[in-house]
Every structure is written in structure tokens, then in C-alpha cells.
Subunit: 267 residues, 2 copies
């Protein structure tokens, strides 16, 4: 079931700038018992994306009610919101006049839980760096598609992606945390990558639980020596990596404490 600008439809205009240029944003949200979890965090990131792209921000109450209207029968679901610059801003890269964004809301069955053991590797596909696009969840996702396509033959559950300069920034669809004995590390997402909602929850949880956590560049060499890793997104939650590039990893006890704190937060 899909709503396009509030109307039940399965199609969008073939001239939509979301299709032509990836000129838009998206959010993927977990829904429990008919309500969107961590909704305010999703809307804050969407708002940052709207500022960066100079897109009018949709009314959060409208977005929430549209999503929740699709959820009635499901105990848990995934909702996806796509917001594009629409059609009226015209053809050609330069947006003209007033954008009337296209707002697409859909709900899907909650996906299978992540595999156990959870296996990750390093992708040969690199992330291009652009500070103006970093952090936000925009629709230009070919790097992630290529990384997952390359991973298909390997049977990996997730692949980590880095920059040309050798920094490892995130998974193709997740954020990355490194567990050292006395601290947790997560890479900055100011040159590429996405500022994940689950990442923000982990950071808040760590602060509340008194766990040291630093945002700091992470190299492939550090990953190769790390005793434990975890990846996060709203689907996985806090997902320990059991196997990284052929090496078995321990599950760090901090993962469970973080997950428990996050499970207790609806917003």
C-alpha cells in the first residue's frame, strides 16, 4: 500500500525529479503496534536534508498520520518515506520556481531478522566524498547498490565501505562501531556516509550508560585488529558482527546494554 501526496496510488509521474536526478530524500522507519518509533529523530534528519537540498519540509504530523494510516493490521512493519523535488521544479539540473515536492509513503512487512552468525567484509566499492551530501539520507545511492551487488556472491550480510584515502566510514546500509577495551569508536559522517537514527540512539545510550564513545576516523588496519564490531540501523538495532573478513569476533557485552536502553525508548 502506497500513498503519493496522500492519495492511494502505485505510480509517480515519469517526469519526477526524484527519478531523473535522485533529487530527494528518504527515511526508513520501524513501526511497532501501529506507531512509528523514533519519529522525531527521523524528522530531524529529514529536515537537515531539506535544508541542504533547499526542499520544502513536509508537515511531520501529516507524515506521521499518513504512515500510521497504513499500519493498522501489522504488529511490526517498515515504513518508507520518499520526498522528492517533484515535477513542477522543471527539467534540467537547475530547479526553477517553486518546488511542490512529491511525498511517497509506503509500509512493508517487517523483514526477516538478521542472520546468525552475522558476517561482514570490506567492500571494494568506495564512497565518494562530498560534505554537502554527507550525513543526509538522499536518493543518490548507486554506491550502495554497487557494493551490495558485489557482495551478492560472497554471502556476506553486510559490507563496510571506505573512502579513496582509506577511512572506513560505514556499512552499505548501516553505521559502524568498533569496540575497544576501554572505549567505543564510530567514524565521522561529515565527508560521506549517513548520520543514522540508530547511530544517534547508540550515542545517547552510551552517554546515559557512562560508556566512553568517540567519533573518530577508523582505518582498515584498526578494523583488522578490533576485538569486536557492531553495525546499526533501525532494522538491525545494535547488531554484533560475528565474523569480519574471515576472522571470528567476540560479542561485546556493551552491545546488549545499548540495545536494552534503546528498546526502552519509543522516541
Amino acid at each position: 500500500m502506497t500513498l503519493v501526496n496522500g492519495i492511494a496510488r502505485t505510480v509517480v509521474d515519469a517526469q519526477d525529479r526524484g527519478l531523473h536526478y535522485g533529487d530527494g530524500l528518504f527515511e526508513t522507519m520501524r513501526c511497532d503496534q501501529g506507531r512509528v518509533r523514533w519519529f522525531a529523530r527521523h524528522m530531524r534528519r529529514l529536515e537537515l536534508g531539506c535544508e541542504r537540498l533547499a526542499l520544502p519540509r513536509p508537515d511531520p504530523a501529516l507524515v506521521r498520520s499518513e504512515i500510521e494510516s497504513l499500519l493498522t493490521a501489522r504488529p511490526r512493519a517498515i515504513a518508507k518515506l520518499i520526498l522528492t523535488r517533484g515535477v513542477s521544479a522543471g527539467r534540467g539540473y537547475r530547479p526553477t520556481g517553486d518546488a511542490r515536492p512529491t511525498r511517497i509513503v509506503a509500509a512493508h512487512a517487517w523483514p526477516e531478522p538478521a542472520a546468525t552468525p552475522f558476517r561482514a567484509g570490506l567492500s571494494p566499492v568506495r564512497l565518494g566524498c562530498n560534505p554537502q551530501l554527507a550525513g543526509i539520507k538522499h536518493l543518490n545511492r548507486l554506491e550502495q547498490v554497487l557494493a551490495q551487488q558485489a557482495a551478492r556472491a560472497t554471502g556476506l550480510d553486510e559490507v563496510l565501505m571506505g573512502t579513496e584515502s582509506g577511512q572506513i566510514v560505514c556499512g552499505s546500509a548501516s553505521n559502524l562501531f568498533v569496540c575497544l577495551a576501554d572505549r567505543l569508536l564510530t567514524p565521522p559522517v561529515d565527508a560521506c556516509g549517513i548520520a543514522g537514527v540508530m547511530r544517534s540512539l547508540v550515542m545517547d545510550a552510551a552517554a546515559q550508560l557512562g560508556l566512553a564513545l568517540y567519533i573518530t576516523p577508523v582505518s582498515a588496519a584498526l578494523l583488522a585488529m578490533a576485538p569486536a564490531l557492531f553495525v546499526t540501523n533501525v532494522r538491525y538495532g545494535v547488531q554484533p558482527v560475528d565474523w569480519y573478513e574471515g576472522r571470528g569476533l567476540a560479542r561485546d557485552e556493551r552491545c546488549m546494554r545499548l540495545q536494552e536502553w534503546i528498546d526502552g525508548r519509543f522516541d
Copy 2:
């Protein structure tokens, strides 16, 4: 008028991967007297894009006949082809099973000729580098949208874009050539940028006319001193830059010779 997989439609499926991820390619083609110009060059670039993205290549004869079926009444037109991974490859970054691509063909009125004098500047928006995506005309075009959006207030006709490391690679919708006294230069497009059809025609024309042309990195400092510049795309042809960053430029006589050679080539 738009054809979606050969059928007259104005809409595409809201689940299309072209919309969700920019998972696809496009071509913008000049059509004269009901026929597509330089068609084989467009199809070669499309084929390279299909290889990079592991997309099935459409039948060129089918694409040509679809475009030309839309052209009857117009002496000159712009045709746009979009090829996406479609719907059947599924949701999520990882494409599953067999893609049945979506093929969208549309024709539009030939746009106004470029302004005279033609004014260009340097964009504050950078190009991210990714060799796997460089050269091909994929649907991830937010950098170009941001560059044109930033240029809207300046009245510039085109903005040149560079990398974080300071190489200037192309215009937002064109390739770049620098005219020095004894040679022409154009930047490589193997880390970012698009291998333009008009760029390839200029390179062939230069070879045939005995004009020295080198593919070589171009810095902002070189541009600031260059006696003449031109930009190319299938809409502009060979477009001399009359004004760059506040400095008037000469029109180089080689521009007209290149344009004449290209005008004489239909394919």
C-alpha cells in the same frame, strides 16, 4: 509524449529502483528532422554504463525506433532515454534475481539557444570521486542539481565543478576544454565527470583537423590564466565561454572549425 517500455504512459511504478536509488542511466540526444544524431555514440556510452551497473542492455534498434516514433512533427528536438533497474530486482540496495529494466523515452522541444555572451563561473559545489561511477551517465545527479541551484542567483549560464583536491573536471552539464596557443586541453573523466558524446566528437574532430588536444588535469589556476575556454554538450555543441569568473575571454578560432566538422557528421 512519453513511452514507458514502449507504451504511451505518463507514470512509472512508485517502487522503481530508478526513483529509490537512482539505480539507472540516461542519455540526452539531439534529434534533427526526425532522426537521432550521434546515436551510436550514445549507445556506446549507455552500454558502458550497463556493464558498470550490471544492467541488461536495451536493443539499440528498439530504442531508436521508440525515439523516432515521437519525433514526427519537429524539425529539431531533444530526446531523453532513462533506463533503470526497474521493479523486479526488488527493494533494498542489493538487486535480486533478474532485473527487468524500465525504459523511459520522451521527446521535448529543442531548448532556447545558449545565451550570448555565455557566462561561466566556478561552482562551490564539489564532485565526489568514484572511478566505478565516473564517465557513465548515471541517475545520481544531486551534485549537479546543487551546483545549478547555487548558480541560480548569479545569472551564470554554466558552472565548472572540481574535486576536493582542486582539479576542475567539467561543467555541471557539459565538458570543459581549455584553449592554449599551441594545444587544447580537456580534463580526464576517470574519477568523476561524464564522458560526453560531444566531447568524443570534439576529440575526433581535433584528430581529423590536426589540432593538438591532450587529456590532462586542469587546475583552477590554469583556468584563471587561460586565454579561451569552451564547453560542450549535445545541446550547446561547441560553446565558447565569453566570460569566466569576471574576466572576458576571446573566442578561439578553433571552436568554429571543430563545430563545422561536427555539424557535418550525423553519426
